[in-house]
């Protein structure tokens, strides 16, 4: 179902999006620098930083990948890294789905390809525009271009200055992951229904982290917590009906 009334791809929309996303891109850059510093610590080369930031372009997945990364190629857990990326990025299914009303007939493939440039930040700006009756795929792409440039420059910069920071734990930089994830988590709070899945996820993750080596606790906790949330929601749904 395309929307014939959706706005065309114009340079105007592109540059409006590119400009509108500069403020959010600055905060993206701030944690891009942190990611770059940690990437150095995890053993990523400058080329690998450029490839991962430039191609994968997904902040939270890249943070999780660093957690799993090993400096020696032979021990690199390729499967778990890809699987973790998949799990962490599943939420993009929901974000890109909300862009559907902006797709003009005949631009489906182009629009789907453009979703590569969708990040949390330019998505949020575009949804804000849609609420005002504006917004377009070109606006999203313009914003994505800004965010991409800031992310690229910041992560490379972080990787370069990372050489000057020998031990991140000395400066508390290892805690940047935890603090960032915690803040992202709190930003997702929508009400009491979130409490149960989060607690189940936290408990299962803590127990798994103690019992299973490696980073599988992210998956066990994530799966247990999300199922707990879905089951609780379903039971509440039935209670409402009866």
């Amino acid at each position: 179902m395309q929307n014939p009334a959706a706005p065309a791809w114009t340079a105007d929309h592109f540059f409006a999006g590119a400009r509108a996303c500069i403020p959010v891109a600055i905060s993206v850059a701030a944690y891009g620098v942190v990611w770059g510093v940690l990437a150095k610590q995890a053993g990523l080369s400058l080329l690998e930083v450029m490839l991962m930031s430039g191609l994968v372009f997904a902040g939270s997945a890249q943070f999780v990948a660093l957690d799993l990364w090993t400096a020696t190629p032979s021990t690199l857990p390729i499967g778990p890294i890809i699987l973790a990326t998949l799990i962490v990025n599943l939420r993009y299914l929901l974000l890109t789905a909300t862009m559907r009303p902006l797709v003009r007939p005949g631009t489906e493939k182009r629009s789907a390809a453009a979703m590569w440039l969708l990040s949390d930040e330019n998505w949020a700006m575009t949804v804000g525009e849609m609420a005002k009756g504006r917004g377009s795929i070109a606006f999203l792409v313009g914003g994505g271009t800004t965010v991409w440039c800031f992310w690229m420059v910041a992560t490379v910069f972080g990787r370069l200055i990372g050489s000057a920071i020998d031990d991140p734990t000395k400066y508390g930089l290892d805690f940047a992951f935890t603090a960032t994830f915690l803040a992202l988590l709190l930003g997702m709070w929508k009400g009491k229904a979130d409490l149960l899945p989060w607690l189940v996820a936290a408990l299962v993750a803590i127990i798994s982290a103690k019992l299973i080596p490696g980073s599988w606790y992210i998956l066990t906790g994530g799966i247990a917590g999300s199922f707990a949330g879905a089951i609780a929601e379903r039971r509440r749904g039935y209670a409402h009906q009866s």
Binding site: S27, Y31, S45, L51, M52, V56, A58, A65, P73, L76, I78, I81, I82, T85, L86, I87, V88, L90, R91, Y92, L93, L94, T96, A97, T98, R100, A112, M115, Y171, G172, F175, A176, F177, T178, A179, F181, L182, A183, L184, L185, L186, G187, M188, P197, W198, A202, L203, V204, A205, I206, A209, I218, L219, G222, G225, S226, A228, G229, A230, E233
Partner: protein, 102 residues
């Protein structure tokens, strides 16, 4: 060290799953269940994954990590700013580790 085949494979795999997810959300928008169990499950994944990332790191840390996590949460709830919250967490953990000698 420039890179390795293993690293390139991992990055290519990350790229492939990310592009596939982002494109399919848009293309399948009208077919994704809007209600029911699967929809609820998808909605709860991001929060559950983040909670799993945070909880072991805070619990297996010491007093410094727990207090810094509390400060991070407080700053985020008050200021609603991701970077301010992250910076607070890092500075607090740095100071607390020094103060507690940990």
């Amino acid at each position: 060290m420039l890179t390795s085949p293993e690293a390139l494979l991992a990055i290519a795999g990350m790229l492939a799953v990310t592009v596939a997810i982002k494109a399919s959300g848009l293309l399948l928008a009208n077919r994704l269940p809007q209600t029911g169990f699967i929809a609820a499950w998808l909605r709860h994944i991001p929060g559950a994954v983040l909670a799993s990332l945070v909880a072991p790191a805070v619990v297996t840390g010491g007093t410094a990590e727990i207090l810094a996590a509390a400060a991070t949460a407080l700053v985020f709830v008050v200021a609603r700013n991701l970077f301010a919250a992250m910076a607070t967490g890092v500075i607090m953990v740095f100071l607390l580790r020094m103060a507690l000698g940990g």
